[in-house]
């Protein structure tokens, strides 16, 4: 029962971090963070998709290896850090592992907040950290054989921006 002057029931804050082989449903996951709530003003989502090429060479598929236990723990640490930085209402991160073919979804991040700035920033922050700190490794199947994807300096630079912002904010 909602009494006089009281807000309707608001879903308690819950974050979800999941590592799974199966595909995910972005719309359903987003709805879980927004449905029945009146405090959420913004939901930002990012989906990482398997491209059909690696450095200009076509690929048949990619296989994502991960470190079970640490992958979840590491992403949860980043979610906690995002929560400490921005006023978020909900966070869902789902990362797939195993073999995926071009066009398949690999990873999704959804962040919700009362206003868009926090949701946008936190989603980008989480993806930047996920790419360089979460223990996942991509192997791609090319006609020339299977090769491990090399880490990109641009991904390290993307994470460095957040560190620099923190230093700047502390000054």
């Amino acid at each position: 029962m909602v009494g006089q002057g009281e807000l309707p029931y608001i879903t308690p804050m819950t974050d979800t971090v999941r590592i799974q082989r199966e595909p995910f449903d972005l719309a359903a996951e987003t709805a879980k963070l927004t449905r029945g709530r009146i405090d959420v003003g913004a939901a930002v989502s990012f989906t990482g998709i398997c491209r059909g090429d690696e450095n200009g060479e076509p690929i048949a598929a990619l296989t994502l290896e991960h470190y079970p236990g640490m992958a979840e723990a590491e992403i949860e640490r980043h979610v906690a850090e995002a929560r400490a930085r921005w006023p978020l209402l909900g966070v869902t991160v789902i990362h797939r592992h195993g073999r995926m073919t071009p066009g398949e979804d690999i990873v999704m991040v959804v962040t919700t907040s009362s206003h868009r700035e926090a949701a946008f920033a936190a989603a980008e922050f989480l993806m930047d950290y996920l790419k360089t700190r979460a223990p996942f490794w991509k192997q791609v199947e090319k006609t020339s054989g299977a090769t491990w994807v090399e880490a990109k300096a641009t991904d390290d630079a993307a994470v460095e921006r957040w560190v620099a912002r923190e230093r700047h904010a502390a000054e």
């Binding site: 990873v107 360089t132 996942f136």
Partner: protein, 83 residues
Amino acid sequence: MKIRYFAWVRERIGKPEEELAVPASVTTVAELVAWLIGRGEEYAYAFENPKVIRAAVDHVHVKPEAKIVAASEIAFFPPMTGG
């Protein structure tokens, strides 16, 4: 102590994990790498460029000088490429 390997580090060593009795004199991640290299050419191959290898102690990223005393699981892997 359980040692785990991932991606091409795992391929080069030829196994995903192993239980090893690490001598008490080996107290840091860097010392563990040096000790592993002495175990055989597959380890020497995996750690031929130790600077690119990342390590985690009990599911937390660590630097080479990190202590491994009291650790239950140590992992070695290349730079991460998820997302």
